[in-house]
């Protein structure tokens, strides 16, 4: 049978899913956490605690900001707030965070910590939406878009399908893969809740065919649930991007500047489905997430259930390893879209999918050469842009033409940089130009 995929562009980097067979293990509780106030897309949250406040696991520490796009943040440990101070985030710039000293591990009484599966959905739609908002659920695929906004469907903007993203097309990362294997039932109940929230009766789960065990388990489990379909997909990067996944599953194209809801689709990650299950059925806010730590020089690799805000060094400690000497680059996220970090002393946030340790042979970029006009970048761009041209325009700071060439439609997948035979840093310049064009557009809107 021919597997579905998206039609334009795409690449297939070596998968290197080293940690695919390692079960999810908890890292334990750190001594101190620093929970950044801005770990979602949109406005930072406003802290509601101050120095000396005692908190439990699940206590609200920052309320969503006044802006439309923002999310609540909860304490992931129990203890006392030491201070609200600036700590370096993954880019090295210092951003405000709540620093909590851990004392014991006391959870809020309202949270159901039993491992039993709760199948029956008692809450009605309004209660579900309110809870998703209150529990600070954001999309766990990487963009950390606050989830409650996605489910704001009404008569004018109706959805007919819920798409669940289990693709995990980034090389190395395996956190979604493990989640699908180990929390299958929970994800299915989560999907039922999401279908109720989005007012749809059809859900499609897209999983790439390099995870046959996950496909099989999800398919078996889906039989018991009405309207849920698991679709195996051909392995191709960037299939996990929402536009590409919707194209692959439903053959619908989202026009530039529009959202999935404009073509009648609500889309979320499997991790989010699990988080929504826990929020609604177990009353548990987003205080933990699964993070992969992997690399060819590590003796062991792992998938860990980690408290939000714990330092990334904890992952290495949990593995029982130290940083390999050969490590030249540490990537926060997958190797295609992730960003290199200065050190592992950064807090894990809601958007951290994993860390990849890369040695010298793979870390360093080759010296960029001249563009030879081979148009390979045009061929692999899944959006159909012309990366070589956008790079030039962005370098010359010609933002008007950048905008005319739809630079804001770039999903920053990095396929162009990956494929370029001259090793040109195409994506770096496009990201730079895109940020500037978006700033100009924002300023224009404010006028």
């Amino acid at each position: 049978m021919k597997l579905k995929t998206f039609k334009i562009g795409g690449v297939h980097p070596p998968e290197n899913k080293l940690s695919a067979n390692v079960p999810i293990a908890p890292t334990g509780v750190p001594k101190q956490v620093s929970i950044p106030l801005s770990q979602h897309l949109g406005a930072p949250s406003d802290p509601v605690v101050e120095k000396g406040t005692a908190v439990k696991v699940g206590t609200l520490i920052a309320r969503k900001g006044k802006a439309f796009i923002s999310a609540n943040i909860h304490s992931s440990v129990s203890g006392t707030v030491v201070k609200i101070d600036d700590v370096p985030d993954s880019s090295g710039y210092r951003k405000p965070a709540v620093i909590i000293k851990v004392e014991g591990d006391v959870w809020e009484d309202s949270i159901d910590r039993s491992p039993d599966l709760v199948k029956e959905i008692k809450s009605d739609r309004d209660a579900i939406l309110q809870k998703i908002e209150d529990m600070g659920i954001v999309g766990l695929g990487g963009a950390t878009f606050p989830s409650h906004i996605k489910y704001m469907v009404d008569d004018k903007r109706k959805a007919d399908t819920l798409v669940i993203n289990g693709v995990e097309c980034e090389p190395y990362l395996t956190c979604d893969h493990r989640l699908m294997l180990e929390r299958t039932e929970e994800i299915m109940v989560g999907i039922q809740i999401m279908m109720k929230a989005a007012k749809v009766d059809r859900a499609m789960i897209g999983i790439e065919s390099n995870k046959p065990d996950a496909i099989q388990k999800m398919q078996e489990c889906a039989k018991a649930y009405k309207g849920v379909e698991v679709v195996p997909l051909k392995v191709q990067y960037p299939q996990g991007a929402e536009k590409q996944l919707i194209k692959a599953l439903l053959n619908r194209e989202i026009p530039g500047g529009k959202l999935p809801l404009d073509v009648g689709v609500v889309i979320n990650n499997v991790g989010t489905a699990f988080a929504i299950y826990e929020a609604i059925q177990k009353n548990k806010p987003m205080v933990e997430r699964v993070v992969t730590i992997t690399g060819k020089n590590l003796k062991k690799t792992g998938n860990f259930l980690t408290r939000i805000g714990s330092p990334a060094t904890m992952l290495l400690e949990a593995l029982g390893e130290t940083l390999p000497e050969k490590t030249t680059k540490i990537i926060n996220g997958g190797p295609m879209m992730g960003k290199a970090v200065n050190s592992l002393d950064i807090p894990i946030t809601k958007g951290t999918c994993g860390f990849v340790l890369v040695d010298e042979s793979e870390a360093l970029r080759a010296e960029p050469d001249f563009c030879i006009r081979c148009a390979k970048c045009v061929g692999v761009c899944p959006i159909g842009l012309e990366p070589y041209r956008l790079e030039q325009l962005s370098n010359r700071q010609n933002y008007e033409l950048c905008e005319a060439e739809s630079i804001t439609d770039c999903i920053e997948c990095g396929s162009c940089s990956y494929t370029c035979p001259s090793c040109r840093p195409l994506l770096d310049y496009i990201r730079f130009g895109k940020a500037n064009v978006m700033r100009i557009q924002r300023e224009r809107r404010q006028k």
């Binding site: 370096p88 880019s91 090295g92 710039y93 960003k339 970029r365 840093p425 770096d428």
Partner: protein, 301 residues
């Protein structure tokens, strides 16, 4: 054969004559009178088209000057590279008074050389400050310091700025800098500032723009301003040129008398001057010394 020739010559002749008449009428009717002074003023300007005056090129400034001259006041317009001499010549041509301009120079306010702010990580991306700054905080870890990827060098049309190969910091060539401000705009971290050249080229500035608290700033750079406030106290009472804001001192060029008293008191050596600073004075005799200091220093030079 002859008729063919005759007709073609005739047709072309009529077309030519017709076009000539149309062109003549159009040229008369839609004639745009350009002030001849614009060309004259353009000839007087340096012709570098640097944009330092805020107009699109030298002709843009010339047009603005002539327009302002019709209103009777050109004192608001300046040509930074041309300086006072150019403006005086233009003013003479236009028959007006030119505004007096303080000669300025670009000053790089960062001392984070390779030695003082050692590299913690290696950057492995495109050679462009603006791109690098958007990605991370810099190789030394200072989120305010120079990243040394030479956006300012690329922006300078006068070749007046270069990156020192030893320190990896930009250096301004005083003889060539015209204070057009292109590097100021190009620097993504706003390190470069235009400051008055000062009397006899004496100027003092805080060689740091780091707003972090002292301990954090010092971790990344040995010559960072730590916001201790010693320079504020050292500044003579009548002058009070130094202000402290967000852990960062700033010397107000309008008030500063370039005495250099703040330089020896700085614990990290973050204050820089174009002249030899006075030796640190013993405590008992501060007031008299402070008052007489600027005069004696000036006289010595």
């Amino acid at each position: 054969m002859n008729t063919v020739m005759l007709y073609s010559v005739l047709t072309l002749g009529i077309v030519a004559a017709g076009s000539a008449i149309i062109l003549f009428v159009v040229a008369k009717k839609f004639r745009v009178d350009e002030d001849p002074r614009i060309d004259e003023v353009t000839a007087l300007l340096p012709g570098a088209n640097c944009g330092g005056c805020g107009n699109p090129g030298c002709r843009g400034l010339a047009e603005a000057l002539v327009k302002a001259a019709d209103k009777g006041d050109i004192s608001g317009l300046k040509c930074p590279p041309g300086g006072n001499d150019t403006m005086a010549a233009i003013a003479k041509l236009l028959g007006l008074e030119a505004g007096e301009m303080v000669p300025m120079i670009a000053v790089v306010r960062c001392g984070g050389s390779l030695e003082k702010a050692p590299k913690k990580v290696d950057y492995n991306g495109p050679n462009k400050c603006a791109v690098s700054v958007a990605l991370f905080n810099g190789e030394s870890g200072c989120p305010y310091g120079c990243v040394g990827l030479s956006d300012c060098v690329a922006a300078c049309v006068f070749n007046a700025i270069y990156i020192d190969p030893v320190t990896h910091l930009p250096v301004v060539d005083e003889a060539k800098c015209t204070a057009c401000g292109a590097c100021v705009k190009a620097c993504p971290r706003s390190i470069i500032e235009l400051r008055p050249k000062g009397k006899k080229d004496r100027r003092v500035w805080i060689n740091c723009v780091n707003k972090e608290i002292g301990a954090v700033a010092l971790k990344n750079c040995k010559v960072a301003c730590i916001g201790c406030g010693k320079c504020v106290k050292a500044c003579p009472e009548k002058v009070q040129a130094i202000t402290m804001e967000k852990n960062l001192a700033y010397i107000d060029t309008n008030k500063c008398i370039s005495c250099g008293l703040c330089i020896p008191v700085c614990p990290t050596g973050a204050i820089k001057a174009t002249f030899e600073p006075p030796a640190p004075k013993p405590k008992p005799q501060p007031e008299k010394e402070q008052k007489s200091e600027p005069n004696t220093e000036n006289a010595a030079q």
